[in-house]
């Protein structure tokens, strides 16, 4: 049976890696589900310009479309694919477009910035999308007989009103309060927690060669919805399928078909330790910090690693500048104490190269990010001593997170 997708159709631009497309959560989910082989009707708002583009996307992915017109489409721009986007052309709350009304059997609903959707469905999957204050599915009068919510950890804590709550407690509370049959909480490298039938089950994330982050969340929702509503798979099986199909997107930037997914092999990331309390893994952040550009990078890497619960020891932040006698023993001790090293190697700073060599001699895993040096002679020693080397920043950050949960 057809799946109706309602959500944003937004311009997306990324500076590095260079990318520009008009997708948004709604458009991407619609394209993903249709490529997998299920008939899709996509409901959204379009501007005259984005309408023209949507017609092309609809032809390319074989979507039926139902659009309401607005003046300008919302536009996202990202410096890199893990950065917070700039969001343009969001109308202030009072001047949002009139809500779309959707009464169908199977509906995937994304929160929207320019309007809203009121859904009456037999089966519905809902991703609130709203980064400031996630809104409950039923808050605008929407109703579904079978409802699944897909949330990230932060959204789950906000919705549950438990800012420090663990995933399982949040999921249980939200399911009860919002009459949801299924609550899924995405947890990055840890996979996702699926709450259904009064039980929590964990599904893994899958390891890929490349990581392209923009749109991965949208794809997860799309594939879960396809599996749960169309294939009628059990929630945990559907979530595991979604995790694997999303890995395909993250790896290739493309949408899977049953055939391509069959032949793609992604190993699950299996956390070494699920016992609570989890002791945070320590990452030593090696890299030069002599000018703003370098400091900027260290700052980004530190924030991104910390945001998934890793403990980061950054010489710039935690040790500082000083004489050799003052700082070097502290740096060395920090390398000895860490679980793994993330090294920013562009510029071939001697301090950084010394640190990562020292770490390898202690058998600490080292993940290298180097856009410029990849494939040159300069990285031969690192390659030969088992460092993981990535030219793509996001991939390097993910490789570090995966290493950390598996070590």
């Amino acid at each position: 049976m057809a799946i109706h997708v309602v959500g944003g159709f937004y311009e997306e631009r990324c500076t590095r890696p260079a990318w520009s497309h008009t997708f948004g959560s709604g458009g991407r989910a619609a394209a993903a589900i249709a490529t997998y082989g299920t008939e899709v009707i996509f409901h959204t708002y379009t501007s005259p310009k984005s309408q023209r583009y949507l017609e092309m996307v609809a032809a390319a992915y074989k979507l039926d479309i139902q659009t309401n017109s607005i003046e300008r489409a919302v536009a996202f721009s990202y410096l890199h694919d893990l950065a917070n986007p700039h969001i343009a052309h969001v109308p202030p709350a009072p001047s949002r477009a009139a809500p779309l009304q959707i009464q169908q059997d199977n509906v995937v609903r994304f929160g929207m910035l320019e309007g809203n959707a009121i859904v009456q469905a037999q089966w519905a999957v809902y991703d609130p999308q709203n980064q400031e204050a996630p809104v409950a599915f039923g808050a605008n009068g929407s109703h579904a007989k079978h409802l699944a919510l897909v949330l990230n950890s932060w959204e789950a804590q906000q919705m549950a009103g438990l800012p420090e709550g663990d995933a399982q407690t949040c999921a249980c509370k939200i399911a009860q309060e919002q009459h949801a049959e299924v609550v899924i909480i995405k947890q990055g490298a840890q996979g996702a927690l699926v709450w259904a039938n009064q039980r929590a089950t964990q599904v893994p994330a899958y390891r890929t060669q490349n990581v392209w982050k923009i749109g991965s969340g949208d794809c997860f929702v799309a594939y879960f919805a396809q599996a749960w509503m169309e294939q009628k798979l059990a929630p945990t099986v559907a979530a595991d399928f979604a995790s694997r199909a999303t890995a395909y997107y993250v790896d290739t930037k493309g949408f899977a078909t049953p055939e391509t997914l069959e032949t793609a092999h992604y190993p699950p990331i299996s956390p070494k330790n699920r016992q609570l309390p989890v002791v945070p893994k320590k990452v030593y952040l090696a890299g030069p910090f002599f000018h703003l550009g370098q400091i900027w990078l260290i700052e980004q890497a530190r924030t991104l690693l910390q945001s998934t619960g890793l403990q980061v020891i950054s010489p710039f932040h935690d040790i500082g500048l000083g004489t050799a006698e003052d700082v070097v023993p502290l740096d060395i001790q920090a390398i000895k104490d860490c679980d793994l090293v993330f090294a920013a190697v562009d510029g071939l700073d001697p301090g950084t190269i010394f640190e990562l060599g020292y770490a390898r001699s202690l058998d600490k895993p080292v993940v290298i990010y180097s856009e410029v040096q990849v494939g040159t002679e300069s990285l031969k020693m690192m390659q030969g001593t088992g460092c993981e080397i990535y030219a793509n920043f996001t991939t390097a950050i993910y490789a570090t997170r995966w290493r950390a949960v598996e070590s």
Binding site: P17, S20, N210, G375
Partner: protein
């Protein structure tokens, strides 16, 4: 520009990447290519006196190639002699045989097939978008080969004109 963007989107834009050990990623684009290698690049000169622009299919961006307006004009003059269409965008297909040679022993015929397929796709997409498209039947040598890259790594494999259908 919107027409050109739509055309490149429909025909050439990379849909999916696959890591390979050839030194570059394999790409899936709307039009097929031997080994998913895509060794034929698309260049555009929108108007006379402008530089060639290279279409980056992964980023969906046109990247200007500075200092190429003179060679592009030579190519445009050659096109004009065949089909006078001053307002059309000039499209050039430029092959990089070494890319195909990363996998195949004799890439020659594969490159010509890739170029032919690409011209065919351009024609179909132009029809769908109600644009005029005219392949010129010339390779574009030496303007797209030695004139563009002294080291001889490139080779012209076709030229075409793209414009708005003139009604009435």
């Amino acid at each position: 520009m919107d027409d050109l963007a739509a055309m490149l989107e429909l025909c050439c834009r990379t849909r999916e990447l696959q890591a390979s050990d050839l030194g570059f990623d394999l790409e899936f684009r709307p039009h097929p290519s031997a080994g998913a290698i895509h060794s034929v690049h698309t260049l555009v000169q929108r108007e006379i006196d402008e530089d060639w622009m290279y279409y980056d299919a992964q980023a969906h961006q046109l990247v200007s190639l500075p200092g190429t307006s003179a060679v592009a004009n030579v190519a445009r003059n050659a096109a004009d002699e065949l089909v006078p269409a001053t307002n059309a965008s000039l499209i050039a297909l430029v092959a990089e045989p070494d890319k195909a040679a990363a996998k195949y022993k004799s890439p020659g015929s594969l490159i010509w097939r890739d170029a032919g397929v690409l011209l065919g796709y351009f024609s179909i997409c132009a029809e769908a978008l109600a644009l005029s498209f005219c392949p010129l039947g010339i390779t574009g040598q030496p303007m797209l080969g030695r004139d563009l890259d002294e080291q001889g790594r490139l080779c012209g494999v076709g030229m075409a004109l793209l414009g708005r259908t003139h009604l009435g």
